[in-house]
Amino acid sequence: MSQPLIEEHIARTATGDREAFGRLYSLTSAKLFGVALRVLNDRAEAEEVLQEVFVKVWRNADRYRANGLSPMTWLITIARNAAIDRLRRRREGQAELDAAEVVPDPAPGPEAHAVAGSERERLAGCFGELERDKAEAVRRAYLGGETYAELAAAMDVPLNTMRTWLRRSLLKLRECLDR
């Protein structure tokens, strides 16, 4: 996917260019739908999230330049955040039902075994330097939208311990990624 092309379509979308917006959709909707689907695991909800995402993109395209993100990161972040918001709302509705049976899931997802691409290797390498359950907690926060309270419950540790672990892990991760 060509980043400069996507960037140009975002810039033109910011001027109200519907055709550019349509091209942006053609180029990126499958990736963003893939992200929403992975987070939500529900096609109907992922579709609604996709709609939210592109409405946001149309309305906020003029603000893209100010944020310093690469164009795909900007789009993926909007999609991830919208999907997480929805997932959290869904979980709030279920929280009482499930509170008693939260089970830790230490198995890393397939993305932990990332292979090709130097960016991914770098990321996987740095995640690999963390203890396994800590790396998993960071991943679950990003892809599962889990809060400190949820992570603490899942890993059966006090909330403050969880927070301290995760914050230390973030610092280690950042040091590794900046190396």
Binding site: K31, G34, V35, Q51, G68, S70, T77, E111, Y142, R174
Partner: protein
């Protein structure tokens, strides 16, 4: 910027990561955003996390959403049912080559018998005009069909500000500008020119101004003139 306490960058690195993950409370997140708005370095710390975390999705396969998703988005953003053709309402007004044939087929099947292609430029216009803003942020191409008394307008660049309308004016000679009406919300549309104004198009100037929603309440332009262009014979 050298005096005063140096912000604790390690603390900020962690905070930016927590913000990117959505682990902060709403109050903490708002405070972080406020600081970020003032502090480019903090923004860069957040951007670094956002880039790295986004790479966690690199392995996720692309999955084409159903065709109706696109139509719904366009409908939500651009739909004004009372002013638009069925085709435009479904986002077909500006469909380009990239759209999957399946999407077109689905839309046609759903609207069998209702399908139309929306406004089209006249084949033999008598006059044309390019009404453009100096900075290129608004461009409207107009073509006048003398037989129907219709001015076809296509707005490839620019849009009214939220809650505002773009109004088209005809300036003929030394006369005050006369409204030709509010530009259609759709990118392309036809505006019927009142019979008495048709002779004034030749040699006239078209201008677009920013007006309250629905157009100037007074009959004269009240907002900024955004774009102007000469009417030229073909």
């Amino acid at each position: 910027m050298t005096d005063g306490p140096q912000p604790d960058r390690d603390e900020d690195r962690v905070l930016a990561g927590e913000y990117a993950l959505g682990l902060l409370t709403p109050e903490e997140a708002a405070a972080f955003e406020e600081r970020m708005a003032q502090d480019p370095e903090l923004r860069a710390l957040y951007a670094a996390w956002a880039e790295d975390f986004a790479a966690l999705t690199d392995d996720f396969p692309e999955i084409a959403p159903p065709a109706r998703a696109r139509a719904r988005i366009m409908q939500q953003l651009f739909d004004k049912p009372e002013q638009r053709s069925v085709a435009q309402r479904l986002g077909l007004g500006w469909i380009s080559g990239g759209l999957a044939a399946a999407a077109v087929a689905a839309v046609i099947a759903l609207n069998a018998g209702l399908f139309d292609v929306g406004p089209r430029a006249p084949l033999e216009p008598e006059y044309v005009a390019q009404i453009a803003a100096e900075d290129g942020t608004l461009i409207v191409q107009a073509a006048y069909d003398a037989e129907r008394g219709a001015l076809y307008v296509d707005r490839p660049v620019g849009a009214p500000a939220p809650g505002r309308s773009l109004e088209l004016w005809l300036i003929a000679g030394e006369e005050p500008a006369i409204s030709l009406g509010v530009l259609p919300d759709a990118q392309k549309g036809n505006m019927i020119v009142p019979t008495e104004l048709r002779p004034k198009l030749a040699g006239g100037v078209l201008a677009i101004s920013d007006e309250p929603e629905g157009g100037s309440p007074t009959g004269v332009a009240t907002g900024a003139v955004l774009a102007v262009g000469n009417v030229t014979p073909v």
